[in-house]
Every structure is written in C-alpha cells, then in structure tokens.
C-alpha cells in the first residue's frame, strides 16, 4: 500500500506550482507519506491540515450538509487543498499562480486511486 501512497504523492508533487503534497492519517493527524519543500515541517502541516479538515467535517455534518469531500483554503500567497480519501487525507500546498483546476483534478484522481 505504501507504494500506492508514494506514487500518489509523487504524481501530485510534479504538478506545476505545487509546493508540497502529503498523505495524512485522518484520525491521528500524522504524515504517512510527504514530499514538501525544504524547511516545511511535515508533522506540523499534517497536524494542522487534519485538525482543520476534522473541524470542517464536523461543521458540515452538524449543519446537515453531508460528508466533507474537499476543502480548499485560499490565501494571499497560495492555496491548501485537502481531499478525503478514506483513512487518509490528501493534502496539497500550492503557489498562488498554480493551475488550481489541475491541482484539484490530480488530488481527486489520487483520492480515487486510494479509495
């Protein structure tokens, strides 16, 4: 399974504008596989992304909007996209100028391949 995880992360990392990609254990909030730019702590990113995903998922379900599938956070300098893939969450950090459509497409493809 770890090979499948590695392949998914490597493919995501090759998309233009992607600064890093990681698979995060949805429950524990720890990185399973990560490819991140130098100086970025995978452990911290995994913990924060998983926490944000969980909180948003709770809000969505409590408000009867259903199960959270994708979360995209936009900021001045870039984007973070998190996609539900069952036991893991796919997290991608991209530059502001990245082709978001392509990044999202690859993230969803990765989620399908892991499901």
């Amino acid at each position: 399974m770890i090979d499948v995880y590695n392949a998914a992360v490597q493919r995501l990392s090759r998309v233009s504008g992607v600064r890093g990609a990681l698979l995060v254990d949805a429950q524990a909030g720890v990185p399973v596989v990560a490819e991140l730019a130098e100086g970025v702590s995978g452990t911290a990113v995994a913990a924060l992304a998983a926490s944000l995903f969980q909180r948003t998922a709770q809000a969505s379900e409590h408000a009867d909007f259903g199960r959270l599938t994708t979360l995209q956070v936009d900021a001045d300098e870039g984007h973070m996209i998190a996609v539900d893939a069952g036991e893991v969450i796919i997290v991608v950090v991209a530059e502001r100028a990245a082709q978001l459509g392509l990044v999202r497409l690859e993230a969803h493809r990765a989620a399908e391949s892991l499901a």
Binding site: V40, A44, V45, L48, A49, S51, L52, R55, T56, Q58, A59, S60, H62, A63, D64, F65, G66, R67, L68, T69, T70, L71, Q72, V73, D74, A75, D76, E77, G78, H79, M80, V93, G101, R104
Partner: protein, 348 residues
C-alpha cells in the same frame, strides 16, 4: 385566459373551505386576481404556501400580485424563490429580469433575460427588453469611456432621444405581458423616470425602461435592499445554484442574509458550526506562510459552502447546490464580499 365559470369558482371555494390543504387555492387565487380582488388572492396564496412552500406557480402568482400593488422588491423576492425551485421558470426569469432592469442592475438583467430568451426565443417582450438593455449598456459604457460626470439627466435625455423607452412602453405585446386582468395597464407609456420602489402605486415593470434610474434612485434602491438584513444578498441568490448567503461575526452570529427554504440546517447553526473551522483555517495558512487567509471552499455531500473574511471578525458564507461549479462559487463569493462590505460600511 378563459374566464372561470361561476360553478368552478364555487367548487374551488368549497374545496378550500373544506380542506385548507387543497390545491384548489391556486385556481381560486388566479380567479380572484382576474376579478381584481388582489388582497383575497394574496391571502389564498400565502395560506397555500404554508402547506406547499415549494409550489413554484403559487410563488409566481404572489410575485405578480406584489408587483401589481407596487411592491417590486417583494415581487422580486418571490420570483427569486421560484427560480430556486425551478431555474427555468420563464415568467420568473422575465419578471426578475425586468426588475433588475428597473434597478439598473444591467448585468443581472441580461443574465435573467437571456435565459428567458433561450426558453422562449420568440417572446417579443423579452426581445425588446434585451434591446433596451443593450441601449442602456451602450449609454453606460459611453459615459464611462468619456469619463464624463455621471449626469443622470444627460443619460436620461440621451436614452429618451434613442427612443428606447417609448418603443418598449408603447409596444402592445410588452404591455400585454404586464396587463392586469382587471384591465389596469401596468405600463405607463408616458412615464419618464422611475420612482423608488414602494412609494408609488402599481409601479410598472416597464416604466423605468423609459429612462435609466438616476443615481439617487439607485442609492435609494440599495438602501431599501439593505433596510431588510435578510434581503441584503437577494440580488446574488435570485438566479443560479446559490442556496443563500450569510454575513456572520466571529461568534458565528448571523448579521445579515438568509438561506433558501429547504436548505439543510438553520442560519444560526451554520454560523455557529463554522466558527471553529474559520479560526483553524487562519492558523493553518499562517503556519504554511501563505499570507493572509482569503477564503475557504467546503465541498460536502449535499451542498457546497464558501467562507471568506470581509472585515476583521466578520465573514460571508455562501451555500450552493452540490452541482455548482467551484469556479462559479469563488466568483460569487467575491461579489458577496463586495456587497457585505458595502452593507457594513453603511450599517455597522
């Protein structure tokens, strides 16, 4: 339309009296409207909608009744409701398109009228409204291009000189579209300008076609929209896959906006639930050194949400159908932020 027989009227009336949930309320309300008994028709519609809140034709009839009473804002609200239920409801697209045109919201008018034209390409009233719209947009573009001061009188004079207003107002097919069955012509061929909604009886949908609304009228129109906090974002939710827009504070309390009937969850619960997620999003982007947080798109099984900061401590939340394109949601979020900012500047 064929006049109902007295026997039909009695039958519908008896049915409604016997069973308040009977769908006979609709033909009965239509008959009352045709007889000029608008108040009775409106009461029937409102009671019927208590039992059938998503009955598009009842909302549509109610819109016409409001329009005939000069309450364009309420008419537009009802048409908005119809379009949430049935996005391809021709009469509502046309009606709300005319309302936008009167309010000088030209891009929204075009959006609604072009959709109406796709549904009925040969409808003369829609085609003429689109022509007037084109003339208006050219005039506006000309005003902007020459960088002249937006002298509404000048624009009005030029509009009149093009004949755009009289052509529409005098056109029998256009008049017929808005003719009340009681015989009251809702279009004033001699109208030379629009008055603020709610201040004139039977403000005709076509009257403002005679001349663009003045900037003062636009301001009044804006103030009227903003006067009801729940209607602040109605111009956005009138068409398309948006379910509603809310302006919330850092505590998750709703400051303005509303969700369509039938949207999962309540406004207050949605605001309260999102509070912790909003705080977490800010922390996450700060750690990732991504700069200031600008928005968060949440795609869930039933619906899609977008949350974005407006001012420190205030956020605008959009809810859309699950099928809404993500790019469209992001663009709509930008428009909602602008409206929210204007609302806060005026009322906060």
């Amino acid at each position: 339309m064929k006049k109902p027989a007295p026997a039909d009227l009695r039958r519908w009336s008896d049915e409604v009296a016997r069973d308040p949930t009977s769908l006979a309320f609709l033909p009965l309300a239509r008959a009352y409207r045709r007889q000029g008994q608008r108040e009775a028709a409106r009461q029937l519609c409102l009671r019927g909608l208590e039992h059938y809140p998503t009955h598009a034709e009842a909302h549509s009839l109610l819109a016409l009744l409001y329009l005939e009473d000069g309450d364009r804002a309420k008419a537009a609200d009802e048409w908005s409701m119809v379009l949430r239920i049935d996005p391809d409801h021709f009469e509502s697209l046309r009606g709300i398109g005319f309302c936008y045109l009167e309010d000088d919201q030209l891009s929204r008018a075009r959006q609604a009228l072009e959709r109406a034209a796709l549904l009925r390409p040969h409808d003369a009233t829609v085609q003429e409204a689109l022509q007037v719209l084109g003339t208006r947009q050219e005039l506006h573009a000309g005003t902007v291009t020459t960088n002249a001061s937006p002298d509404d009188m000048d624009v009005q004079n030029r509009a009149t000189s093009t004949g755009a207003g009289p052509v529409i107002a005098a056109d029998p097919s256009f008049r017929d579209a808005w003719m009340s069955p009681a015989g009251a012509d809702l279009v004033s061929p001699t109208s030379t300008g629009s008055r603020p909604a709610g201040t004139s009886p039977a403000q005709p949908a076509g009257a403002a076609f005679a001349a663009p609304a003045s900037s003062a009228d636009r301001a009044r129109s804006l103030a009227l929209d903003f006067a009801d906090p729940m209607s602040v974002f109605n111009s956005l939710t009138a068409t398309g896959p948006l379910l509603g827009v809310l302006l919330i504070d850092a505590h998750g309390l709703v400051l303005a906006g509303s969700m369509a009937r039938g949207t999962p969850g309540s406004e207050d619960s949605l605001g309260a639930m999102l509070g912790p997620a909003i705080a977490e999003a800010g922390r996450t982007v700060a750690h990732l050194a991504l700069g200031d947080w600008r928005g968060m798109l949440i795609e869930a099984g039933v619906a899609m949400l977008h949350v974005a900061p407006v001012r420190p401590g205030t956020y605008v939340v959009l809810a859309g159908r699950r099928t809404a394109p993500s790019g469209w949601m992001l663009r709509s979020a930008g428009q909602a932020q602008e409206i929210a900012l204007r609302y806060l500047e005026e009322y906060a």
